[in-house]
Amino acid sequence: MNDMTLLERDVDTKNIKIAANNVQVYYGDTHAIKDVNVQIEDKTVTAFIGPSGCGKSTFLRCLNRMNDTIDICRVEGDILLDGEDIYDPKVDPVQLRAKVGMVFQKPNPFPKSIYDNIAYGPRIHGLARNKAELDDIVEKSLRRGAIWDEVKDRLDAPGTGLSGGQQQRLCIARAVATEPEVLLMDEPCSALDPIATAQVEELIDELRQNYSVVIVTHSMQQAARVSQKTAFFHLGNLVEFGETGHIFTNPEDPRTESYITGRIG
């Protein structure tokens, strides 16, 4: 296993973090994701774009098996994380989600203190051996979430008392506190004002140093600003996937072009 990844590294400087092969997703009888193949690279920001209802969230949620919580949802095909099939019966989704963190569209801090919001993940995964280490993780995560300066004096205040933008950055900090390898973000800026959005985008760019980030967004500008790779979904199909610059300047598929130029959406 390890040898294989090493070999791959030799071949390609960019490591493949997640590989999805022939993924099909059904909600009952609805075929929501149709035969999607995509390779998400390590230390790269990948953007998913596409019109509403095309299956971006559905596909994103497949990557950390959050779809398991939906009874009628069925996933076929394989999704490999570092070469291991995450839908293998031997895989416990809880362990997977510790590796693949998620930030949701609506900020959803726990109705607990800011400190506990961050400390919860490390606590349940046993990442800290004592209070000092935990304090350390909390501070580091809040700094990475670009919110430390705003909350350092009120770590005991409830996380739900923060503004929407602060809450979203708190959620990002919470997600990075568990040291995931991949961070999935489903429209993380849709509830934010331009200033908070800019902060989050800056943050995503920083996170790229350590993680592989997948972001769903409705904003073409945002996708262009933050991502290196872009995937365009349409009606459950992955229409086009490639370098962001290439997709935005020189799309190969007419559907991509008309979406980017605002004709479908």
Partner: protein, 451 residues
């Protein structure tokens, strides 16, 4: 397009006219709104009126039970009657039955009358009859507890007979006792005289709240205390069983169970169970717990089990409702950082649902506390004549009563003195229920949702 052409055809704009004048439509709408408000106020007024009538009736009829007429007498505990041998041997003293004590009371009356310089036409027996039938027993209990006091003269406060008590409270009059064999007009005159001389007085009666039920003949001695303990035991059983079972069932159904026909059937059945009349649970308890499992009749354990069955659906329904009201985003958040399903539920969902669960539980308990019918079927009217410490020790398995069953029992008895006590008991029951509901409201306020 058609809109504009229409309005130009008619030659008027849809919202034409001055803002200062009410259009016909607006006037009609406003009138309808006014009418609806009047209906609403009328409905509230009717409700309030009913409540006032209810409360004032209960209080006015029940308050009498909290005061009681007492007769104070100095009784000489004659050694010649109680301990002929003079050895103070408890076994021998115990041999003297309550009949042996009756003469002491008669004596005490004649001494008192002499002291006050009052002549009475009544026989000694008639004089003593204004006391409760429990008076000799009260003397005997005292003597057995304090044998060294034999030979001394001790002051006793005896309960007055129920009729005398009723006379003092205005319930009994000379007309109403015309056909009453247990008391006559001369005795009432006698009572009047004793009242003037401060031998008879009416005071607050703590024994009604703490005491045990008494036999048909002695309404003046009956109290709610023991049935309160019975109710308390049952509530403990209900709380210990219904809360964990109900919460566990709801958490499983709400958070873990797959959505399929089986869970649908269970769900429908739980809702149906909530609507099953309580008497059905009573007969079920009779058949299963008593006839089949041979648990003791009239025991608070059985009553508690039956009430648990009755309370479970209420708790499950309210628990599921409060679990449902926790936003799914909280679960997603927990799962998203790698919590297991159970961790998500127990660390995040349950604390948020707790106030709702508690409120539902308290309301379920309050319902159970006031439930009468099923208790009658399992015989929870077992009357035990021991007061607080003994009755507490009697525990879950020995016969006991419960507040509502006790009230029913009293209301059923012929003597109007019991009827008054039934109303008095209702006051206690209502105080309990109001307290519980207030606690529920306070809890809800206290842990107001914070997300």
């Amino acid at each position: 397009m058609t809109e504009t052409s229409q309005s130009t055809e008619n030659g008027r704009k849809p919202h034409g006219g001055s803002l200062m004048t009410l259009s016909k439509r607006t006037a009609r709408r406003n009138a309808a709104e006014k009418r609806f408000q009047i209906y609403g106020i009328a409905a509230i007024a009717v409700g309030l009126l009913m409540l006032i009538i209810l409360v004032s009736t209960i209080v006015s009829r029940g308050v009498g039970a909290y005061s009681q007429t007492f007769v104070t007498l100095q009784v000489e505990l004659l050694e010649s009657k109680l301990d002929k041998s003079g050895t103070r041997d408890l076994e021998k003293i115990k041999k003297v039955s309550t009949f042996g004590y009756a003469p002491l009371i008669k004596n005490a009356f004649s001494v008192k009358l002499e002291e006050l310089g009052i002549q009475s036409e009544l026989s000694a027996k008639e004089q003593a009859a204004i006391l409760s039938k429990s008076a000799p027993a009260q003397l005997r209990d005292y003597v057995i507890a304090n044998p060294d006091k034999i030979g001394e003269t001790i002051e006793f406060r005896f309960l007055a007979n129920g009729r005398v008590d009723g006379y003092m409270k205005g319930r009994v009059s000379r007309e109403s006792i015309a056909n009453d064999k247990s008391i006559n007009a001369e005795q009432l005159d006698f009572v009047d005289i004793l009242v003037v001389n401060d031998v008879i007085e009416k005071t607050f009666n703590l024994d009604f709240i703490t005491g045990a039920d008494a036999s048909d003949q002695r309404p003046e001695a009956a109290g709610m205390g023991v049935s309160m303990i019975g109710s308390l035991f049952m509530m403990l059983v209900v709380l210990a069983l219904a809360l964990p079972i109900g919460v566990a069932a709801s958490i499983y159904l709400e958070e873990f169970a797959p959505q399929n026909w089986l869970t649908d059937v269970i769900e429908v059945n739980i809702s149906n169970l909530a609507a099953v009349p309580s008497i059905v649970f009573g007969i079920l308890g009779l058949a299963v717990f008593i006839n089949y499992m041979h648990l003791p009749t009239s025991a608070p354990l059985v009553g508690g089990l039956v009430l648990t069955l009755m309370t479970l659906p209420t708790i499950i329904i309210s628990t599921r409702a409060s679990l449902k009201s926790v936003p799914p985003s909280i679960r997603d958040a927990a799962l998203g950082v790698g919590a297991s399903k159970m961790q998500a539920v127990f660390h995040h969902v349950l604390p948020l649902a707790a106030p709702g669960i508690l409120t539902g539980t308290i309301i379920g308990l309050a319902q159970a506390l006031g439930e009468t019918a099923p208790l009658l079927l399992i015989g929870m009217v077992g009357f035990i004549a021991s007061n607080a410490p003994d009755s507490l020790a009697s525990g879950l398995m020995s016969p006991n009563s419960a507040m509502p069953a006790q009230i029913y029992e009293w209301a059923k008895r012929a003597d109007p003195a019991f009827y008054e006590r039934a109303w008095g008991g209702i006051i206690i029951l209502l105080v309990f229920l109001i307290t519980m509901n207030t606690v529920a409201v306070i809890l809800r306020r206290r842990f107001e949702r914070r997300w």
